[in-house]
Amino acid sequence: MTKTVDSAPAPAPLPVLTRKDFVSDQEVRWCPGCGDYSILAQTQKVMPDFGYARENIVFISGIGCSGRLPYYMNTYGFHSIHGRAPAIATGLRAARPDLMVWVITGDGDALSIGGNHLIHSMRRNVDIKLIMFNNRIYGLTKGQASPTSEYGKVTKSSPTGTIDYPISPLGIALAAEASFIARSVDTHTEHLQTTLERAGRHHGSVFVEVLQNCNIFNDGAHREFTDREVRDDRMLVLEHGKPMIYGKERNRGIRLDGHRPQIVTIGEGGITEADLLIHDESDPLLAAMLTTLYWPDFPVPVGVIRAIDRPTHSELLVAQVEQAIATRGKGDLATLLAGGETWTVTGDGA
C-alpha cells in the first residue's frame, strides 16, 4: 500500500521563521495604496508566532480583491470561488485537524454570496481563522454596492442611491455564535497585528472584521473615524477586564443607562472611571451591545468583542469517529459487506 495521509512525513524540528519566510515569490497586484497591503504585511508578520511549520498552514480565499492574498503567502493556499471559502475550509479542517487554516474574505464574498457558509461555519465552531476585509464596496468588479455599503450610497449599480440597509458583520458573527469576534483597522498596524495574534491563538471559529480602505472605488470608506486626527475620539479600543474608556484625553467612556449604552465624560457630573462598563470578552450581553455601537452615535469599538471556548467541529467529529472505533472496533470490510441477512446458494442452485 502506498503512502497515506496519516503517514505523511513528520515535520522537521521547527526552524525559527521570520516574516520573510512567509512571503511568496508572486508579485503583489493590488492597486497602489490599497489597504490590503497592510493586512498582508501584518499577516506575514504574525505568522511565525504560532509555532506552526509553514507547510502546516493553509490560506483559503474566495473571490474579490481579498481573494488574492493566498498567492502572496508562502504557505499552502487555495484561491477558491465566490463565497465558498468557509465551506472548503470546513472540509479541509474536518479531514485534517492538524492544520492551521485561515480564510481570507471580503464584505461581498462573506456576507453576500457566501453568507450561508459564513454563518454555518461559525455556528459549528469550525476552527478557522476568518479575516473579512470590509471596504464597503465591490472592488474587483469595479465599484458596486456591497452588503455593508451605507444606505443611500451612490455606486455604479445604484446611481440614485442604494435602498438596502447595511448588514452588521459583527452582529451576524454573534448571532451565529462565532467563538471569537474582533474588529480592527487596516491602517492601525499595531492594533491589527495584536488582533491577528489573538485570532491565530484562538481555539475555534474566528471572525475578524478588518475595516479596510479601497482608494479606487470607495476612498475614505472609514475615514470619518479611522483618520489619525480623529480616531482616538471616535474609536473605542476594547481590552478585556478594562473600562471602556477612549478619547485623546482618555476622559470619555461608555456606561449603561438602564440597558442603554451612554457616552459620558469622566469628571463631568460626578462621573468617575468606576462608573464605566468593564469589558468582558465572555459576556454575551456586552457583546451584543458592542456590535450595535457605531459612528456617529458612538465611538466604533475595535479589539476583541468576544472570545469564548467551546469544542470545535473537527474535535467533535474526530471524537465521534474515535468513539465508534472504540465501541465497535475498527471497521472490517469483509464483515461489512456480509452484513445483514445473508443466504448461501450452493453449486446446484438449491
Binding site: 500500500m1 502506498t2 503512502k3 497515506t4 495521509v5 505523511a8 515535520p11 511568496s24 508572486q26 507547510e55 502546516n56 498552514i57 493553509v58 483559503i60 493566498p70 508562502n74 504557505t75 499552502y76 493556499g77 487555495f78 484561491h79 477558491s80 470561488i81 465558498r84 465551506a87 472548503i88 475550509a89 470546513t90 472540509g91 479541509l92 479542517r93 474536518a94 479531514a95 485534517r96 492538524d98 492544520l99 450561508n116 457558509h117 454563518i119 454555518h120 465521534q320 469517529v321 468513539q323 465508534a324 472505533i325 472496533g329 475498527k330 471497521g331 470490510l333 469483509a334 461489512l336 459487506l337 445483514g340 441477512e341 445473508t342 443466504w343 446458494v345 446446484d348 442452485g349 438449491a350
Partner: protein, 627 residues
Amino acid sequence: MTTAQDRPVRERPREERQLDRVTIRFAGDSGDGMQLTGTQFTRTAAAFGNDISTYPDYPAEIRAPTGSLPGVSGFQLSFSSNEIHTPGDDPDVLVAMNPAALRANIGDLPPGGALVVNVDAFTSANLSKVGYAASPLLDGSLSAYNVFSIPISALNARALAGLELTNKQVDLTKNFFALGLMFWLYERSMEPTLEWIDDKFSRRPVIAEGNKRALRAGYNFGETTEIFHERYIVPPARLRPGRYRSITGNEATALGMVAASQLAARPLFYGSYPITPASEILHQLAGYKNFGVKTFQAEDEIAAIGSAIGASYGGAMGMTGTSGPGVALKSEALGLAIMVELPLVLIDVQRGGPSTGLPTKTEQGDLLQVMFGRNSDSPMPVVAPATPGECFEYAIEAWRIALKYMTPVAFMSDAFLANGAEPWLIPDATTLPDISVPNRTEKEGFYPYLRDPETLARPWAVPGTPGLEHRIGGLEKADILGNVSYDPDNHHKMMLIREAKVAGIARDIPPLDVMGADEGDLLILGWGSTYGAIRSAVERLRDRGYSVSHAHLRHLNPFPANTEDVLRRFRRVLIPELNLGQLVMLIRARYLVDAIGYNRVRGKPFRIAEIETEAERVLADLGEPLT
C-alpha cells in the same frame, strides 16, 4: 366474486401450483406501511433463494390526505426461480388496501390477475374521495379480475382484541395481515418477519405483539378460509453459487464508497445536503464512522461539495451526493474541482425534473447536465451502474478513476436503482482492486501542474508536506508551474490538456460488451437503470428469432474505445432512455451514427413490453432482415 365473511371456516387440502415467477404489488395509503410490507416480503423471498427485483413507488408527500390518490404508495416486487432483471411489467397480484390504491393501480393489473382488497376501506366516503360513484366491488366493473374481497380491518381488529392498543394502533398493523396472507399464499415462512418485529419493537412489546398477531392472523386466514383454491410455489432460483444478501442501489453505493476508501487507504469524507432520493446514502455512511468515514450534513448543496473539495485538498477522499437539483447548485464548484484537478466523486441519484419535478420518481434526465452543465469546456468522467448491485463496483470504479487521474467523477444512479433491491453476490473483499495512489512528497522537481506523462494527472501534494507549499485555485494555471496565467496560448493548451486527460481514460476502461451476436439488424444501446428492461426485451426478441443485441454503457465519459465499432456492426441502433433523448444526442454527435431514440418520461422505469414493441417497430421499418 367471493366474500369471506359468510363462508364457513374449515380446513381442507388445497392445490399447490409451481410458478416460475410471481409479481406482487402492495398498494395503500402512504401511511399504511406498504414500503415495509414489500420490503419484508422481499427479504423473505430473497432469503428463500429466489431471484428478486423490486420497485418501490412512493409519493413525495409523507402523509397526503388519507384515502386520496396523491397519497397512494406502492411497492412492486417480482420473485422468481429464474434469473430476472426487472420487477415485472404487470403484477400478478394487486393488494389494494383502499379505493384510492385500487383506482391508481388497477390499470396495471392484466385481465385474470388476482386482486386482493381490504373491503372494509371501501366506505362511501373513501369511494367518493377518488371519484367512485358506486363501489367497484359491487358494480361488476372488476369482473375481468379474480377478486378477493377480504374484511382485513375487521379480521385484524378481532385478532388483536384484548391488547392494550388504541384503535388507531390496531389499524396500523393491518398491513401485516395482508403480508401474512401473501406469505401463506406463496408458502413463505413468517419467521424472518416475526424476528424483525421483535427486534424493531423490542422496547414496545405490546406493539410487537400486535404486529405479530396481525401477521399470523393473515397467514391463518389464508390457511382456514376457503376462498383461495390454490397456493403457489416459486422454487429457488439457480443463481451463481455463493453467499448473497438483498441490496438496494443506495445501500450498494454506500458500501462501495466505504470499500473504495479501504482499497485506497484514505479516509472518506462525505458532504451532503438532504435530498430525495439520495439521502439514504448519507444515513448509511453516517453509520460507518468506525471505518474512519466522516460525514457532514452541510448547510446547502454548495457547501456540501465545497467541503468535499476541501477534504480532497487535504488528502482525503472528498465526496458529495445529491439529485438533479443539487447537481445544478454544485455546478460552479464542480468546475473548480476540474480546474484544481483534485479527486472527487459526485453521486447523482437522478429523479424526475426539471426543477423540483417528481422528487420520488425515477428519470435519466441529468446526463447532459452532468456532462455539460458547467461554464466553459469542463470535461468530467461519468460512470453509471446498471443494477442496484452494480452500484457497489462502480462506486469503486468512480474512485479508481478519480484518484488515478486527479479529477472529479460523476457517479450516476437514479431513484429506481436507489430504492430497488436485488440479490447481491457478496464479493470477496480480498479480491477487490488496490486503487491507492501516493501523495507527492518529493521536493525535487515538484511543480503543481507537472503531469504524469501517461495519465496526465498532476501530483497530489497535500498540505502538511514540507517543501511543496504552493497555491491552487479557480483561475487558469500556467502549464507545469501552476501559477495564475492569463496567457492566451497557455489557456488554449490547458483546455486541450484537460480534455485529453479525460478522453485518455478510454484506454483504461473495459470495452463495450455485446449481449447477443456481435452484429445484426438491431442493437439496443442503453445506460443506467434501463438495463433490466432492455436485457429482458432483447432476450424475448432473440427467442423469437430476431437479430437483436444489447449493449449497455457503464462509462459515459469517455465512452469505451470500441463503442463506434460496436455501433457500426448493426443496421440500426435504438437507444431507450427515461429522458427526451440525451444519450442518443451524444452518440449521434460523437459518431455520426443514425441512432434512434425511444424516450419515455413518466417517472417510471421502462416496461419490457414497451421496448420489445418499439424494437419490433424499428425492425419492421428495416424490411427484410439480413440473412
